[in-house]
């Protein structure tokens, strides 16, 4: 390595904390998100240990309520939402479109500082005494009844929201304005289509969350009647506003994951993605229809039956494009030349787990069944299948796929595959029993529970132990590889994307010469067929 790359241009702290290089900012995000992931994970571990027995034995009810609230807030706003966009997206987007950087490099750095400020405020709320409202902040509990640090935590989330908006804005402008010559919209890798759709939601939905949290703070501080019926407010108004953001936010979390899966399935089948245009437009369809389904969180809240009917219908509609994507990924494998490298194992795990998550979503969209299943472990299992089985698995898959590009090092394939398989089994053992618990009627957010539910809870806690170990493994073998791994070539997967046309790790300004695009994406050369990869 004689030539300087983005990691070796400068080694000072200043060069990291005042950098405007999208690659270094991605690393800053990456380090922060690892921290938040393990904070949220520690809370989850404590929850699963507590639930191994029906009685309260590890913590008190107040502590338990603070644990699941902390788990939710940290994981949703400080891990899942920024995960793929701000780490992999930040790093890969300019490389994929052949640009030197994002459109607004300084804004990108500011977005990280805003995110960290939000994170620190939220951590302060947790350390000062915690929050016990659940991540949903339902009123009037959060405004008048909770004696915890609600406002501080809400302020943290409020601040972090601006980081989301800035990132979304940056991606939208970048994808519009900075594409390499010849890179038309239909030549964009599907990862960019899904990040584009994600960014649109980030920019349009996040302000509603900010408004909602401000209204909540106004009621809590000044006693203005907005959500509390005693002073003339309406508690359901809060739910409408909150889910108007938070349901699209679910798509903020899953769309980037779907984008990553396109890249992986295509690369390791050595074949273009089946039905490219359908998959591309499905991302935008999900983003658009995702704004019209929020009321499916409120089927038993007392909203009008007609409203429930419409929201149920729209929820089934929004499931169609997701189903199309699953079919297209499967069809991509047909007549491919499939390599089972670690990223592909994650991608296959994603397809299976996301499908189970999607199918349980149908149960919940179905009005009469939702009456039974809502607010039970069925819902908990459903969104963990999407968010953890889907999103986190895709994140790990993408991380392994682009790891050689990011660090310039190769990781241990053996350990990577072991971790992938372990995550898959650990995950299913943790969350499949929760589907059954929900169908049997165990409510969520229960600190103590009737003893007949114990069998499934013990299985779930056992799975969580495996999952915890599996999630710790990459920390070691990827950490080792970052410093001592074998040097990676520029294009270890023989992939045609622009990000593989520059050296690993890329130089400070990404490309020596401006790349020009002349072909559709995913043109895997026929000669790679039937040849073992990574021989």
């Amino acid at each position: 390595m004689s030539e300087k790359n983005y990691l070796t241009t400068d080694f000072t702290l200043r060069s990291w904390f005042l950098t405007t290089d999208h690659k270094r900012i991605a690393i800053l995000y990456f380090a922060s998100l690892i921290f938040f992931f393990f904070v949220g994970g520690a809370a989850a571990t404590a929850i699963r240990i507590e639930l191994a027995t029906p009685q309260a034995d590890l913590v008190s009810s107040d502590v338990y309520n603070r644990l699941f609230t902390m788990h939710g807030i940290i994981m949703v706003w400080f891990f899942l939402i920024p995960s793929i966009p701000n780490t992999l997206g930040n790093f890969i987007v300019p490389l994929m479109i052949g640009a030197r950087d994002l459109a607004f490099p300084r804004l990108n750095l500011m977005s990280w500082y805003v995110f960290m400020l939000g994170g620190c405020v939220t951590l302060f709320a947790i350390l000062a005494g915690g929050i016990d409202t659940g991540w949903t902040f339902y009123t009037p509990f959060s405004t008048l009844y909770s004696n915890s640090y609600v406002i501080v935590a809400a302020a943290g989330v409020f601040i972090a929201g601006f980081s989301s908006i800035l990132t979304g804005l940056n991606f939208i402008v970048t994808i519009h304005r900075l594409r390499a010559p010849g890179l038309t919209w239909y030549r964009l890798p599907l990862f960019l289509w899904s990040l584009y759709a994600t960014s649109v939601i980030l920019v349009l939905a996040t302000p509603v969350l900010a408004i909602t949290l401000l209204l909540m703070a106004t009621e809590r501080f000044f006693g203005v009647g907005i959500f509390d019926p005693r002073i003339g407010g309406d508690p359901l108004l809060f739910q409408h506003l909150f889910w108007f953001y938070s349901h699209p936010a679910v798509y903020i979390m899953i769309l980037p994951g779907m984008g990553v899966i396109n890249e992986l399935v295509s690369c390791f089948s050595r074949k273009e993605v089946f039905g490219y245009k359908f998959v591309a437009w499905c991302s935008l369809a999900i983003a658009a229809v995702g704004f019209l389904v929020w009321g499916h969180h409120m089927f038993v809240s007392g909203q009008s039956l007609v409203a429930s009917l419409v929201f149920s219908f729209m929820s089934f509609i929004v499931a169609v494009p997701s189903a199309i994507k699953v079919f297209n990924w499967t069809a991509t494998l047909h007549k491919g030349s499939i390599h089972f490298d670690a990223p592909m194992l994650y991608a296959l795990a994603f397809i299976g787990l996301f499908t189970i998550g999607g199918l349980t979503g149908l149960f919940l969209a179905c009005l009469a069944y939702d009456v039974h299943a809502t607010d039970t472990y069925f819902v908990v299992a459903h969104f963990h299948y999407i968010m953890v089985g889907g999103m986190v698995t895709a994140y790990f898959g993408g991380l392994h796929y682009w790891w050689p590009k990011i660090t310039g090092r190769l990781y241990s394939e053996y350990w990577a595959r072991t971790a992938a398989v372990l995550i898959f089994f650990g995950f299913n053992l943790t969350f499949f029993p929760q589907i059954i618990l929900g169908a049997e009627g165990m409510p969520r957010r229960y600190h103590v529970y009737p003893p007949e539910f114990q069998v499934w809870n013990v299985l779930s806690s056992g799975g969580a132990a495996i999952l915890a170990v599996a999630y710790l493994m990459p920390l070691f073998y990827l950490g080792y590889s970052a410093f001592f791994g074998k040097r990676a070539p520029a294009n270890p997967w023989d992939a045609p994307g622009l990000e593989w046309q520059t050296s690993s790790p890329p130089p400070e300004f990404n490309f020596e010469t401006q790349p020009v695009v002349t072909r559709e994406p995913y043109q895997y050369n026929e000669r790679f067929e039937a040849e073992p990869q990574n021989a």
């Binding site: 339902y138 009844y145 359908f278 499939i338 296959l348 009469a368 039974h372």
Partner: protein
Amino acid sequence: MWRQWIPFWQPGLSTHSGDVDLLFAGLLIVSALVIGLLFFLLTLFCTRYRAGNQTDRDHRVKKSWHWEVSWTAASFVCFLGLFIWGASVYFQIYRTPADEHDVFVVAKQWMWKTQHPGGQSEIDALHIPIKRPVRLVMASQDVIHSFFIPALRLKHDVVPGRYQDLEIEVDKPGHYHLFCAEYCGTDHSGMIGEVVAMEPSDFSNWLTQQAPSSPLASEGSQLFRELGCSGCHGNGSAVRAPPLEGVYGKPVPLSDGTTVIADDKYIRDSILMPRSQVVASYQPVMPSFEGKISEDQLLRLVAYIKSLAGHQS
């Protein structure tokens, strides 16, 4: 019953829960088919087209649109069917309840208080007769709670500031879980109770065995005088206020030209927000009782006004 043979499965206990279980079975079958097909294809493709395996890779499908249209249409039709099925059962669950045996339910951090029309009150328990629809009138004293009986596959949020009706009917005597399903603070998981379904004869015995207490309506009548309601609404008062005899369940013309049925919700709202729905040809002079009376007192007043339904003014 075949359902009892499914391991770990508690069969539902009413006609309604049978419908929901059938829907659940339908959803399970659809899911099993989809997962089965997907896993079959994934396994097939991953084995046959694994790298290094010599097999026919020519004639790849290039034109994809008719595949896309077919599976889009198939998913849509399947989803539409599930939507209609789920919606039709939902409308049966939340149909307007029959006005039979009313039980008042007050939810508060962290207990369920239930009260029968005869004044028998219970905490974290609800005794009901079997094979007879029971109408619950639910209110919350503080935050949002959710009334959930898993054995009936039935749940409804209890939101403060409004009454919520819910009709339940149980077919088999027994003890069933009652859970609070909406997170409500520290002791949320302790807000659980028991629904005791009894033969009608046992139920009437149970009612008479309870500690003698005065019926809700007569306690309401006492409150009606204590709170000064009778000063205006009573016979021969100086202030002109609508008489309440015979009002319950009847249409009431309002000053804005519309008409409402004087049900529990309307009476409650009229006590707390008297100026929002004023009876036609009366002045909006009644003071609000918001914050001055509890949910327990409110439901006694409602019970009293209901008891006047048969009277003529």
